[in-house]
Amino acid sequence: MQYIYGSFIDGWYNLRYFLISYFYDSEQKLRQNSINLYILNNIIKDDCDVDQKLNKLKSIFESTIWFSYRNKLPQLQYSTLTSDTGWGCMLRVGQMSLCQQIKYFYNINTPEALTELIQQFADNDQNEFSNFLDQNDGDQKIKYKSPFSIQKIVVETKKEIQKTPGEWYKPNDILFVLKNLFRYSKFSENLRIYINHENAFILSDVVSLMLNNNGGNEEWFKDYIQKGQNTSNQYGVSIYILTRIGLETCNEEYLKVINEIMTYPQFQGILGGSPNKALYILGRVGNYYIYLDPHYVQQAQNYEEIQNDQSSYSCQNIQLIDRSQLDPSMALSFCVKNALDLLDLWIRLKQTKQENGESFFIALTEIQSYYQLTWSISNEENEDEFVTILS
């Protein structure tokens, strides 16, 4: 009975996926817009004919690795579920985003390397899962072939956030869990992950991660670059800025800033979506955002099966969402490959802030500051005690 119900739900999701593609007719909308297209860190300029533009867009879109719902998984820990249909969309969006960051940073484009990258996210990792359960002690030296499998994500989520399979993820949940699992990946060798949950970009924090040392303010960082320090000691950094650009709907002024941010060469997509539906937003064309949709059910593939067939990890249907449908909660992502790249991103953010004034919603801070609480002042009038906040 459960199997029949599961098949019906999967069928419904896939039918809806195709109906959205058919009725929204993204290609027609793309053809109508004679403007530049922005997708990840690429700009497709409006200096060639529409077909050429579309072909370039399709090529980038289809080469971006797509993760979607999977069924026929081995039974997940802490539940009887064998599929993530209906609850795993943000989990899949997180996987897509991290995968894209790794692909971009390590410049992965050969078929063999791409296969190995997809295998890091294999949906069935039974060969090494028991090892993971036994050795899940935070040892950074252990590397797994599939550190970002749904099985390991579920275990790490339960351990850190106390959520069980079937519960919905927030963008911060999945990023936190993936960052924890990243230490088990061979790709953590030269890349670090920076997540700011407070809508802030703190330069010295990113610099510290990049140099594996205490970083300073902008002046310190410029001085470091001018001295021409050894670049082999620098790590790349995947940067995630979690933000919310409105309470119920997106603030139009803030969306203009997002549009500007999408033109940066360091831009690596947005974990966001429409209310309840998580989507991986790759770029924009006019008032529409280009996205990869995880709400399509496919059969789980294990490590060996991915070796033979990776076609289910490439999406052929370019989909667009109108800006008015966007959920205000999102995580902006960037990837900086070295110190110069980071400085360039910092200068771009400052420039955008200068141009947009109050509408620039990200807090740009050079260094982290701390506070202290002091119980020090009593109000004689009503005998209350006040806590002073000292910075």
Binding site: G86, W87, C89, M90, V93, E160, I161, E167, W168, Y169, K170, P171, N172, D173, L175, F176, H197, E198, N199, A200, L242, T243, R244, I245, G246, L247, E248, N251, Y254, G273, P275, N276, K277, A278, H295, D327, S329, F361, I362, A363, L364, T365, S369, Y371, L373, I377, N379, E381, D384, E385, F386, V387, T388, I389, L390, S391
Partner: protein, 106 residues
């Protein structure tokens, strides 16, 4: 959640001219928490940290402060600047606190 605070009483203006009196950090569910004093020139970053501590939020949880349902308070904003710009006629600055929603699809 709504936080009704940041009112300066006359008494406090005289006593502590450089400070904003954050009276009654009160939430819509009726929970009344502590009262805080912060320098006018200070930034919201510290107050956000205090709220996080008060609500016992984990480090991976996100918290955002909104004014008038659409304006996001940036951590770098100065307390007095926001207060002067957005305070109500009754002297209170009302702030909406919000977390992230979960994403799923049924």
């Amino acid at each position: 959640m709504q936080c009704e605070n940041l009112k300066m009483s006359d008494n406090f203006v005289e006593k502590y001219p450089d400070r904003v009196h954050r009276s009654r950090l009160k939430f819509q569910d009726g929970t009344s928490i502590k009262k805080y004093l912060v320098s006018k020139s200070d930034h919201f970053y510290h107050f956000i940290q205090v709220i996080r501590d008060t609500l016992h939020l984990n480090k991976q949880e996100s918290l955002y402060l909104f004014i008038n349902n659409s304006g996001l308070i940036k951590a770098e904003s100065q307390v007095d600047e926001i207060y002067q710009k957005f305070k109500s006629s009754d002297g209170f600055l009302r702030i909406n606190l919000t977390e992230y929603p979960s994403f799923g699809n049924i």
